[in-house]
C-alpha cells in the first residue's frame, strides 16, 4: 500500500510539473491563474497522500493552509483584474 501511495504522489507531482508548463505558455492571465489553482489543488492532494504514507499528521494541516492560500491568491487576482477593468470602463465612458 505504501508503494502504491508513493507512486500516486509521484504521478500527481508530475501533473503539477505539467501545470507549470501550462503557466509558462497560457495565452492569458486568467489561464495562468487557473493553472495556479490546479497546482494548489494538486499540492493539497499530494500533501494528503504524503501525510498518510509517512505517517505525519501535520501534513494534513499544511494541506488545509494551502487550500486557504490558493483561494486567497485567486481572489486577489480577480479583485485586481476587476478594479483595473472598472478603471478602464470609467476612462472610456469619460472619453465618450
Amino acid at each position: 500500500m505504501t508503494e502504491f501511495l508513493t507512486a500516486a504522489v509521484g504521478f500527481i507531482l508530475a501533473m503539477l510539473a505539467l501545470g507549470l508548463v501550462s503557466i509558462l505558455r497560457g495565452p492569458g492571465d486568467t489561464d495562468r491563474m487557473m493553472a495556479a489553482q490546479l497546482i494548489g489543488t494538486g499540492g493539497i492532494a499530494a500533501l494528503l497522500l504524503l501525510g498518510t504514507v509517512i505517517g505525519v499528521p501535520a501534513a494534513v494541516d499544511v494541506a488545509l493552509t494551502l487550500a486557504l492560500l490558493a483561494t486567497f491568491a485567486s481572489i486577489a487576482f480577480v479583485k485586481k483584474g476587476l478594479s483595473s477593468l472598472e478603471a478602464d470602463g470609467t476612462g472610456s465612458t469619460e472619453d465618450q
Binding site: 505539467l18 486568467t30 489543488t41
Partner: protein, 97 residues
C-alpha cells in the same frame, strides 16, 4: 477487511489521479478559456474528492477522517467561488480584446 480497505484506496486514488491527468491535459489542450475552466473544475472537485475518498479507509481515527472530508469541502467551496469569479473576469475581458 484490510484487503477490502486497500482495494477501495487503490481504486479511488487511481481514479483521482486520472482526473488530475485529465485536468492538466485539458488545461494544456483545450482551445479557449471557458473550456479550460471546465477541465480545471473536474480536476479540482473530482480529483481531490476521489483522493480524499481513497485515503479515508487508511485514516487512523474518526477525527482524521473528518479532517480529510472537511479539507475536501473547503476545496469544493473555494473551487466553486473561484471558478465563478474567474469566469466573470474572462467574460468581461473578452469584449475588450
Amino acid at each position: 477487511m484490510s484487503i477490502a480497505r486497500d482495494i477501495i484506496t487503490i481504486a479511488a486514488v487511481s481514479a483521482g489521479a486520472f482526473f488530475f491527468l485529465a485536468g492538466t491535459v485539458g488545461l494544456l489542450r483545450f482551445p479557449d478559456t471557458l473550456t479550460r475552466l471546465h477541465a480545471l473544475t473536474k480536476a479540482d472537485n473530482l480529483g481531490l474528492g476521489l483522493v480524499v475518498l481513497g485515503l479515508l479507509p487508511q485514516a487512523a481515527s474518526l477525527r482524521d477522517g473528518l479532517k480529510l472530508v472537511s479539507i475536501w469541502l473547503l476545496g469544493l467551496l473555494a473551487g466553486a467561488t473561484v471558478s465563478q469569479l474567474i469566469a466573470r473576469t474572462a467574460r468581461q475581458g473578452e469584449p475588450a480584446k
